[in-house]
Amino acid sequence: MARILIVDDDPDMVESLTLVLEGSGHEVVARFDTAQIAAAVREVHPDLIILDVIFPDDDQAGFKAARLLARDAEVQHIPVLMLSAVNQLSDLGFSFSDKDISRDYLPVAGFLEKPVEPARLLARIGELLRGQ
């Protein structure tokens, strides 16, 4: 089983994700903002990071954190699963899917839209932990 770091400002979402992940045997550590995210990753040593996009002080904090982690040689190998409630809204400049994952634009290993069914979340996490 894996150690998973959840970075999300919504405590309810963190709690429901934690229930699912811990119920499936994973160990969960939560952070509620992206400040010092690289330091948090070094401290927690997660096998996978679940990262929200929109935070109260910055609409693109998740993007910025993902790009920061992607440039950090020490932590860039850890898969990041991006999770956002806002997606595929025309003209918002904020529409993406797994197809848009790239080193420059969306440097993460996977993307899921909130709310996500527990089975789908666990399946995607399993794929990412197996390196798919």
Partner: protein, 461 residues
């Protein structure tokens, strides 16, 4: 998807507009000069035969040949500008000045060959004065206009000074009469100078006005971009505020339903499932309302329509629809034998056909089939047809199908989870792409939605 985060891609600045206009005019001048080249060469070859002095014929040939060589050089340099191989503004202005200088010199020689004051040919200096005044700052263009005047009257001055022989084409009386009368001669020259100054002044005023208008338009456009960015941020934040709590509630419901908080009694499990489904419907409605609002606002910052190969995009939509359904509806699609291009954005096409194909699947009966086809109209316009054999639309409901939130009675009875926004969203997306959408339906037999795009001959159009 827009990856241009500042939303300023494709915005032309006033300088860009000015440069593009200038480039177009210089192209036009080069094309027009070839007619003058042809006219000069024809005059040089044929006019001596009808009594024009032989010197005049030779001058026309020399001017025609020189203009042809210079024009070929200008054309070659312009192709460099078109390919962006030369510096934009300054180099183009230098090229324009070079053309004007060559034109003035040619005109000066032709003026002399045609007896200077005997014909009004020296007034041909005026078009160049106007052109320069339109594209150069006032002082520069005035200097060029005055240079044009002096080059136009130079042959006359040199004739009067005895430096070059006096050339006549209408016999001695007319020209000698003018040259002998200082009042007439000065009046003639003053009239030419005034005409040049008048044209320069008029064109300069027009230029100032055009530049002021361009700057105003650019400023307004930038204001609109800024407003749209602010609107986008507000909508994004508002959407997040609406969807995030619902997503959390939905996640809790799923967590409870799947037993992560312990096994639920059947009744409790049923209630939790209903909570989850109502959340799903509310989330779908919020998403659709915002999507429709954005489509109807019609603002596409930093985003331009471009050629999209629709066959591949439809294959993706069909695969997604086929994978997402739990009613056993088959979605049939045979890609067109050749690539079909439409002028669009991928995002709007996904929105358009995601809704049409999703609707067709939704209103099909279990085990039914939906067929998606791409063809071309008689005029060569790409046409996509989505055909189902489902519940159909009652004839009395047909006039309301594009009304927001409207759902026909049989649609509600068949599936109560729809938002009534699928067709309005599809129509809004089609309208943005300049496409026409038509719906034909027969109750209990199915519906055919047809989208016809504007004609496009290939990828790069």
């Amino acid at each position: 998807m827009k990856k241009d985060r500042d939303g300023l891609a494709g915005v032309l600045h006033a300088d860009d507009i000015h440069h593009r206009e200038m480039l177009a005019r210089v192209h036009w001048a080069v094309r027009l000069r070839w007619f003058f080249v042809a006219a000069c060469l024809a005059a040089g070859l044929f006019l001596p035969a009808v009594g024009l002095p032989r010197l005049a014929g030779g001058c026309f040939l020399v001017v025609g040949g020189s203009l042809a060589a210079a024009n070929a050089l200008f054309g070659w340099r312009l192709r460099g500008h078109d390919r962006g191989q030369t510096a934009a503004g300054a180099a183009l202005r230098a090229l324009c000045l070079g053309q004007v200088a060559i034109d003035y010199l040619g005109l000066s020689v032709v003026t002399y060959a045609l007896g200077s004051v005997e014909t009004p040919v020296m007034f041909l200096v005026l078009p160049n004065c106007i052109l320069v005044a339109l594209y150069f700052p006032a002082r520069q263009s005035l200097a060029v206009a005055l240079a044009g005047f002096f080059l136009a009257v130079l042959p006359l001055v040199l004739e009067l000074a005895g430096v070059i022989p006096t050339e006549r084409i209408f016999g001695p009386d007319f020209k000698d009469f003018i040259l002998a009368s200082p009042v007439i001669l000065l009046s003639y020259l003053a009239f030419l100078a005034l005409a040049i100054l008048f044209c320069w002044y008029l064109a300069s005023v027009i230029r100032r006005s055009l530049l002021a208008n361009e700057e105003t338009i650019e400023a307004r456009y930038r204001d609109l971009l800024q407003l749209n960015r602010e609107k986008t941020t507000a909508v994004l934040r508002g959407t997040h505020e609406l969807k995030a709590p619902l997503a959390a509630i939905r996640s809790y419901a799923s967590t409870l339903r799947d037993g992560y908080c312990g096994v639920l009694p059947d009744k409790a499990r049923h209630v939790v499932e209903r909570i989850g489904k109502r959340c799903d419907r509310l989330l779908a409605t919020i998403t659709d309302v915002i999507r429709l609002g954005n489509l109807q606002s019609g603002v596409r910052v930093g985003e331009t329509l471009h050629g999209v190969e629709i066959g591949k995009l439809l294959a993706e939509e069909v695969a997604e629809a086929a994978a997402g359904g739990d009613k056993g509806v088959t979605v049939l699609y045979e890609p067109p034998p050749a690539q079909v291009w439409v002028r669009a954005t991928e995002e709007h096409l996904h929105t358009l056909f995601g809704n049409l194909i999703g609707n067709a699947v939704r209103y099909s009966r279990s085990g039914g089939a939906v067929r998606v086809e791409v063809a071309a109209t008689g005029e060569g316009r790409p046409r996509v047809t989505v055909r189902d054999h489902g519940i159909g639309i009652p004839s009395e409901a047909m006039s309301h199908i594009f009304v927001e939130h409207y759902r026909a009675g049989n649609a509600v009875r068949h599936d109560d989870s729809g938002t009534g926004l699928g067709l309005p969203i599809a129509k809004a997306a089609a309208t943005l792409l300049g496409a026409e959408i038509t719906v034909e339906s027969e109750i209990d037999h199915g519906t055919v939605c047809t989208v016809t795009f504007p004609g496009m001959t290939g990828k790069e159009e």
